[in-house]
Symmetry: C2
Subunit: 145 residues, 2 copies
DNA sequence: TTGCTCCTCACGTCACGTGAGGTGGC
DNA sequence: TTGCTCCTCACGTCACGTGAGGTGGC
């Protein structure tokens, strides 16, 4: 199969990520995926790295409600990180490696803050609902059932 | 001021809820608010109950990513509950009161499950990011900085 | 070679944003 | 009465959905 060679087709990616082919094409058009070298009209080819990136984008979209414009910024940062990572083996000095790690750390920290902000809002929401349930339970006790 | 009489105008509601007047009109058009008795062309009048309802809808929209069609279902349930609540004082038998409470409890439980499902996904996401940070920290130790 | 999957327009939809031009109400 | 806020179209936009008609590649 083509998958063994890490050359995925759009249908396979669609299946793996859980989004439609149309969405993948649209994201590519917006530049959310990496470079797209392909003569127009021919079938797109994807890698497992593309699948990972799409999964992450979809997660930010669905869980944090980010717009595609916001995802672009995020994708740019990730792309930079990936580019540096590709040069990781051998070609970098220790100083450069430290700089790459610092960059990666900053990105991850910002993402974690976004996630945590959303978590707190959901925690508040859940707490209110549980309070509501407690109030209902109390009223039911008052009614003797 | 008009606010003292619980007769809010769309601009006040917009401010209180944090959405635009256009959005409020759109939601009214979809029937997400209660009954709209008003001769066309005249200014809309809202109550604090409308504000509370809109705040809840916006929360479900933003935190859980529900579509307006899904919000409709949710709003219908809430509306039913509110209608029953209005009849709460005096007119109901104990049996009817218990039924109302059971309904309210079921709704709150379903909402809580939705919220918790989202919370778990965000927990997973946060855990992965923290793991990533731990990995970065480890690499930095290996590099001696 | 036959099918299936993919391709590119291109129009439709959902959830609003953004004026244009006009009227309501404290 | 003067302003400000509100009103109703109506077209624009973002993030895709949904065919129509045609070609690529195992």
């Amino acid at each position: 199969v083509s998958a063994t060679a890490d050359r995925l087709r759009i249908g396979e990616v669609s299946e793996l990520v859980g989004i439609t082919a149309r969405t993948i094409r649209y994201y590519e058009e917006l530049g959310l995926l990496g470079s797209d070298e392909r003569s127009k009209g021919r079938h797109r080819v994807f890698t497992q790295a593309d699948v990972a990136r799409l999964k992450e984008l979809v997660r930010f979209r669905d869980l944090l409600g980010l717009s595609l414009e916001e995802l672009t910024t995020l994708a740019d940062a990730e792309q930079l990180r990936a580019a540096l990572r590709d040069r990781w083996e051998g070609e970098l000095t220790d100083k450069e490696r430290v700089a790459v790690l610092q960059q990666a750390e900053q990105i991850a920290r910002q993402q974690l803050e976004l996630v945590n902000a959303h978590r707190h809002k959901l925690d508040d929401f859940a707490a209110e609902l549980e309070q509501k349930l407690a109030l209902i339970a109390e009223r039911r006790r008052e009614l003797g059932t």
